[in-house]
C-alpha cells in the first residue's frame, strides 16, 4: 500500500492508503476524498480530477502527456504543478505523495 495525502482547498489534509497500480484519482474516489469529481471516470476527457502536486513530488510524478495538457486547458487556475490525477499511476516510489485539490473542478 502507498500512502497519499490529499489537502483540500481549505487546507484540511486526508491521508489514505492507495493500491499500487490504481490511479491517484481512483484512490481518491474509493476513499471519498472531496473536491475530485472525475466525471469521465479516468478517461482523460473531463479535467474534473485536477490537482496540484506537492512540490517535492513533481519530478517523481512526471510530466503531463500531450493529451493531458490538452485537457488541462479545460481546468481552472492551472499551475506548473497541475496534473489530472487519473493520469498519475500509484507506484511504490510515490509513497507519501501529497496533492492539493482546487476549490472548483467544473
Amino acid at each position: 500500500m502507498v500512502k497519499i495525502t490529499y489537502i483540500d482547498s481549505s487546507g484540511e489534509a486526508r491521508t489514505i492508503e492507495a493500491q499500487e497500480g490504481s490511479t491517484v484519482m481512483e484512490a481518491a474516489i474509493r476513499n471519498g476524498i472531496p473536491e475530485i469529481a472525475a466525471e469521465c471516470g479516468g478517461g482523460c476527457a473531463c479535467a474534473t480530477c485536477h490537482v496540484y502536486v506537492g512540490e517535492k513530488w513533481v519530478a517523481l510524478t512526471g510530466k503531463a502527456s500531450d493529451q493531458e495538457e490538452d485537457m488541462l486547458d479545460f481546468a481552472y487556475k492551472v499551475q506548473p504543478n497541475s496534473r489530472l490525477c487519473c493520469q498519475i499511476k500509484v507506484t511504490p516510489e510515490l509513497d507519501g505523495l501529497t496533492v492539493t485539490t482546487p476549490d472548483r473542478q467544473g
Binding site: 466525471e39 469521465c40 471516470g41 478517461g43 476527457a45 473531463c46 479535467a47 474534473t48 495538457e69 490538452d70 488541462l72 486547458d73 479545460f74 481552472y76 487556475k77 492551472v78 506548473p80 476549490d103 472548483r104 467544473g106
Partner: protein
C-alpha cells in the same frame, strides 16, 4: 418561428438509451424524433469516452464508446429517425389526457414538437458549457459573457476576448476577428489543440497585427450593470494585464447538468426520475424515462439496462399511439413483418 413538428414520440437525449429506443419503437411502427444539445449522437459514450473500451455490452467482448454509437446508428437506420442536434429541450407541456395523450415540447432554438409520448433519455443531464470560476461572472452572462455564439451581430464593433485553445475557440476567433473592433485570444500556453490550419491562420492574423494572442488565464472582470469593460489576464510569471473587453467568450469544455428536465412536472428523487419498473413510465402518463436518468429499485446505471428499459417502454407506448390495437409479440429472427420493417426481407 417554424411550424410545430408532429410525430409519435419525441426522445430527449441521443445517448445509447435514446438511440436504441428508436429501434424498439420502430419495430412497433412508432416514429420518433431525437433531440440532443450535443452536436452529435452518443451521449456520454461519444463525449466522454469515445476511444475507451466497454467490456459489458452483451454479445461484444470489447467495443469502444464510439464503435457502440456507430453500431447503434447503423442498427436504427431502417427506421429513419430524425435527429435535432445542438438543441436543448426547454419545456414540456401536457396538452392531452391519459386517454388521449398529447404533449408540446419546445427546444431552445425555437422549434416545437407535438407528440403522443415522450421518452426522457437525458442521462446525467444535458451537456452544458463549463463556466470559469471568475468571481462575479454570472452578472455578465447573456449580456457580455457568452458560452456559445448565436448571433455574430452581437459582436460587431466590440472589444472581444475569446478564451481557449481548441477548435471552438480558434474557429470563433477566425469568424469574429473581421467583425470585432479588436479581438484578443487568451490561452494558458502557446500550444493549441485545434486544427493546425486554424492555428496557422490565427498566428498569421497576430503577425499582421490584426488581432492579439495573450498567454495566461483570466483572473477577474470589471464592468457595470452586466456590461463588461475589461478583463484581467494573469500570465505564467504572475504578471497581470488588464485588457479592454465588451464581449467575453470562454470555452472550457462541457459538463453534465440536469438542466430543464427538473421543470417538467416529473417527480424527482435526487436528480433522477422515478419510474415504474415494468413500463418505465413516470408519474405523468405517457412520459417515460430510460437510461441513466431514471430511478427504480435495483437500478444500475449500465448501458445494457438502458436497452432493456427502452424495449419495455416501447410496449406501453404502443397502446398510447395505437389505442385499442392489439400488440402481438414477435421475434426479429422469425417474423416476416418485422423483417420487412428492417428492410431485410
Amino acid at each position: 418561428m417554424s411550424e410545430s413538428i408532429k410525430t409519435d414520440v419525441v426522445i430527449v437525449g441521443a445517448g445509447p438509451a435514446g438511440l436504441f429506443a428508436v429501434f424498439e419503437l420502430g419495430l412497433l411502427d412508432i416514429k420518433a424524433h431525437l433531440i440532443d444539445i450535443l452536436p452529435k449522437p452518443g451521449g456520454q459514450c461519444a463525449e466522454l469516452y469515445p476511444e475507451k473500451p466497454i467490456y459489458d455490452i452483451p454479445g461484444f467482448a470489447k467495443l469502444s464508446g464510439q464503435e457502440l454509437v456507430d453500431a447503434l446508428l447503423r442498427q436504427i437506420e431502417p427506421f429513419h429517425p430524425t435527429f435535432h442536434y445542438g438543441e436543448m429541450v426547454e419545456s414540456l407541456e401536457v396538452l392531452g389526457s391519459a386517454d388521449a395523450p398529447l404533449f408540446r415540447i419546445r427546444a431552445d432554438g425555437g422549434q416545437s414538437f407535438e407528440c403522443k409520448a415522450v421518452i426522457v433519455a437525458a442521462g446525467g443531464g444535458s451537456f452544458q458549457p463549463k463556466k470559469p470560476p471568475v468571481p462575479g461572472i454570472e452578472a455578465y452572462e447573456g449580456k457580455s459573457v457568452f458560452y456559445a455564439v448565436r448571433k455574430i451581430e452581437d459582436f460587431r464593433g466590440k472589444h472581444v476576448v475569446i478564451v481557449g485553445g481548441g477548435d471552438s475557440a480558434l474557429d470563433w476567433t477566425l469568424n469574429l476577428q473581421p467583425v470585432a473592433k479588436h479581438l484578443t485570444l487568451v490561452h494558458r500556453r502557446d500550444e493549441f489543440r485545434g486544427a493546425p490550419h486554424s492555428v496557422k491562420a490565427m498566428r498569421e492574423l497576430v503577425t499582421a497585427g490584426r488581432m492579439e494572442l495573450r498567454l495566461g488565464q483570466i483572473s477577474s472582470l470589471k464592468g457595470e450593470a452586466g456590461e463588461l469593460a475589461s478583463v484581467t489576464v494573469k500570465d505564467a510569471s504572475g504578471g497581470s494585464h488588464e485588457i479592454p473587453c465588451q464581449r467575453l467568450i470562454p470555452f472550457f469544455g462541457l459538463t453534465m447538468k440536469l438542466g430543464p428536465v427538473a421543470e417538467w412536472g416529473l417527480n424527482l428523487h435526487e436528480n433522477l426520475v422515478p419510474v415504474d419498473a415494468g413500463t418505465f413510465e413516470t408519474n405523468v402518463p405517457s412520459i417515460f424515462a430510460i437510461g441513466d436518468i431514471n430511478h427504480y429499485p435495483g437500478k444500475l446505471k449500465l448501458i445494457l439496462c438502458g436497452f432493456h428499459e427502452g424495449a419495455l417502454a416501447a410496449q406501453k407506448i404502443y397502446h398510447y399511439v395505437y389505442p385499442g390495437k392489439r400488440l402481438t409479440f414477435q421475434y426479429t429472427t422469425s417474423s416476416s413483418s418485422l423483417q420487412k420493417k428492417l428492410g431485410v426481407n
